[in-house]
């Protein structure tokens, strides 16, 4: 299973996303990483080019709702059905909001690498 991990927006905190990239790689996933400050357009394009099965957005600056809405719009516009998820500094009260917007899952602050890996293993079974 192929996963793209990405950093939308201007936030440059990338320790967490790279830790997760290592974790998923160790668990046998094929991981792509977008690098910093990518637009949602670019992220979707990278996802399509690499034919990934899931897209992760890592956001720590507090702009997660704005960026998730943009993600949902573009995914709908292009009629894409790739599950996407959000992690980073996410208040737990926004988890439902993000999932309502269209995220397959949102991982609030304090989520553990192994929990995220577990979620992906379950997703793998479904896919």
């Amino acid at each position: 299973m192929k996963v793209l991990l990405s950093k939308p927006g201007l936030d440059g905190h990338d320790v967490g996303v790279k830790v997760l990239a290592h974790g998923l790689k160790d668990a046998g996933f094929e991981v792509f990483y977008s690098g910093l400050r990518k637009s949602i357009e670019t992220i979707i394009q990278m996802a399509l080019e690499n034919k990934v099965d899931a897209i992760g957005l890592s956001i720590l600056s507090g702009t997660h709702l704005v960026l998730a809405q943009r993600m949902n719009e573009l995914m709908n516009e292009q009629n894409l059905d790739i599950p996407w998820f959000v992690g980073g500094n996410i208040p737990s009260r926004d988890v439902n909001k993000l999932e309502e917007i269209g995220a397959n899952k949102a991982f609030p602050t304090g989520s553990k690498v192994l929990d995220v890996v577990k979620y992906f293993n379950e997703l793998k079974v479904k896919i």
């Binding site: 927006g9 201007l10 936030d11 440059g12 905190h13 990338d14 320790v15 996303v17 790279k18 830790v19 990239a21 290592h22 974790g23 790689k25 991981v31 990483y33 977008s34 690098g35 910093l36 400050r37 637009s39 600056s61 507090g62 702009t63 704005v66 960026l67 500094n89 996410i90 208040p91 737990s92 009260r93 609030p108 602050t109 304090g110 553990k112 690498v113 192994l114």
Partner: protein
């Protein structure tokens, strides 16, 4: 030496082996034999190579400075805060900037949507600096600009503002973070390719050495490197390599080492093993002094000083049982004081999940004040000097930091190591190992993997986004673009471009342009046209 006293290793004594985060093995007992070769016996604080501190009397004369970090969204709010602080007897402030300003985007750039004023003050033009510093006596307040990618523009604006207000810039004080190399390793607000980014830092050093000699244009940050996953040896080694890169650049412009080395300062991180951190600072301070004197031939003692802000790092704090962070921060403060810091800052205990409240910010402040006023921390200089363990570990750190710097040389020097992602790759791998170590219980963390309890759900809080302030900023920008002399701005932007093409120092032309209200985004764009942008190597 008797048979008994030589038995002091873990194996001799039949106890488990212990390793520091840096990989150094620690013996259960240290004796005078461990520091036999050390020169420390004859060394006094305030004397080269300054292992014991850069001043002879240290805190007995004046305690370390307390400087907590704070950010305000608009120039108007920042100005209010300045006046509040001055009225309360304070004399300095760290200015945080929002991400568009740090990344060189104007408030009206589509990429800035939702980010204007979110994590700090917005700056589009000199007008914003003029609002922020309205009726502030720049001779009395020292301003620290926490900005890197666009630091050359922020420094230019600060100088331009002072000049326009009639100050003599030859006596203007202040500091800027302006350490772009660490941004490539952690934090990420880089814009231009690595070599050109370093050139811009050197431009500020050269300009300040010649025109604003009391200004500190660079604060080299080991802090963010450590927070990104580096161990304490690497934190110091990479920071020193970075400082050397800026130093080499300045020397290549023909500046004398003694004309700028004393203006360089450092920002370091504290969490983890107490003795390891103290040895890191003592050994690092000695090594830096030797580098500046022996390699660069500095004559002035001040040039050899490792001046630092060393504060409690967020990396050591936990969301679990957050009150424990108050205790951790008190230890970090103690470490910082025992290491001879010049300035101290602590994270608030609730910072891992929320905006620090006034209450939690006050606890941080009181932590440092209790140490100064109740613990006798200021009475005696370098109280751990002469400890067999601390001196032995200090010697070891000096050696290990030096070795790690050689590793960077093997990677082709710091500029190449950063451009190719070599350092990013190694620190991110370590961050992963540390995180997994904590999650699987290999590394003990109280409240996280040992002595845990049921946690109540603590909500993460952000400052609510101030859409009105953002709209106001857009209006101001529109107004300025309509009222300034646009022909003049265009001409001055062309001049910056020409200077960039000719590899001239950009400070004079940027200062001229900001005086005519050229925007941060416009200036960055002409620089991008010449320099291009950094292409991030994808490593994890």
């Amino acid at each position: 030496m008797s048979e008994v006293s030589s038995k002091k290793t873990s194996e001799d004594l039949g106890v488990k082996k212990v390793y520091l985060e840096s990989g150094i093995e620690v013996d259960p007992i240290y004796t005078k034999d461990d520091i036999e070769d050390s020169s420390i016996k004859h060394e006094m604080p305030g004397e080269y190579p300054f292992t014991r501190g850069i001043h002879s009397t240290m805190y007995r004369k004046r305690p370390f400075t307390i400087r907590q970090y704070a950010g305000f969204a608009s120039p108007e709010e920042t100005n209010e805060r300045f006046h509040f602080l001055i009225n309360n007897g304070q004399s300095g402030l760290n200015v945080a900037f929002d991400l568009p300003t740090q990344c060189g985007l104007d408030s009206d750039d589509p990429r800035a949507l939702g980010e204007v004023g979110r994590v700090g003050m917005t700056v589009d033009t000199l007008d914003d600096f003029e609002i922020a510093f309205k009726n502030i006596d720049l001779d009395k307040i020292t301003v620290s600009l926490t900005i890197n990618g666009t630091a050359i523009i922020a420094i230019a604006m600060y100088i331009a503002m002072a000049e326009k207000a009639g100050y003599d810039i030859s006596s203007l004080r202040g500091t800027a973070q302006n350490d772009i190399l660490k941004e490539f390793i952690g934090r990420g607000t880089w814009i231009f390719p690595v070599e050109k980014s370093v050139k811009l830092v050197v431009d500020t050093i050269e300009y300040c050495a010649e025109n604003v000699p009391k200004y500190s244009p660079v604060s080299v940050c080991g802090y963010h490197i450590r927070e990104s996953g580096a161990n304490p040896i690497q934190e110091m080694a990479y920071a020193f390599c970075i400082a050397k890169a800026y130093t080499d650049g300045a020397l290549s412009r023909g500046i004398d080492i003694d004309d700028f080395a004393s203006r360089l300062s450092y920002n370091f991180d504290i969490y983890g093993n107490l003795f390891e951190q103290i040895a890191k600072f003592r050994g690092g301070r000695r090594l830096w002094a030797k580098i500046i004197r022996e390699e660069y031939g500095a004559k002035n003692d001040k040039s050899c000083w490792l001046r630092m802000i060393a504060g409690g790092g967020g990396g050591g704090l936990t969301k679990e049982q957050p009150e424990n962070n108050i205790v951790r921060s008190a230890y970090y403060a103690l470490i910082s004081a025992l290491s001879g810091t010049q300035t101290m800052a602590l994270c608030s205990y609730d910072e891992a999940y929320t905006i620090p409240t006034e209450h939690s910010a006050e606890i941080s402040l009181r932590t440092m004040q209790i140490m100064i006023h109740e613990m006798g921390i200021c009475d005696t200089v370098d109280p751990l000097g002469g400890s067999y363990y601390v001196e032995s570990l200090t010697d070891r750190f000096e050696k290990e930091i030096k070795e790690e710097m050689k590793t960077v040389d093997k990677w082709g020097g710091i500029v190449n190591a950063v451009a190719t992602g070599k350092i990013q790759e190694s620190v991110s791998k370590q961050a992963y190992e540390r995180e997994m170590g904590m999650q699987t219980g290999v590394v003990d963390k109280v409240g996280v993997n040992i002595f845990t309890r049921e946690e109540e759900n603590k909500e993460v809080e952000f400052h609510p986004y101030n859409q009105e302030a953002a709209n106001n900023q857009l209006k101001k920008l529109k107004k300025i673009k309509a009222s300034r002399n646009n022909d003049k701005v265009k001409e001055l932007l062309v001049k910056i471009k020409k200077d960039a093409e000719d590899d001239n120092n950009l400070m004079p032309s940027i200062i001229a342009a900001v005086k005519e209200y050229a925007t941060v985004g416009e200036i960055v764009q002409v620089m991008k046209d010449v320099y291009g942008e950094f292409e991030e190597p994808i490593f994890f």
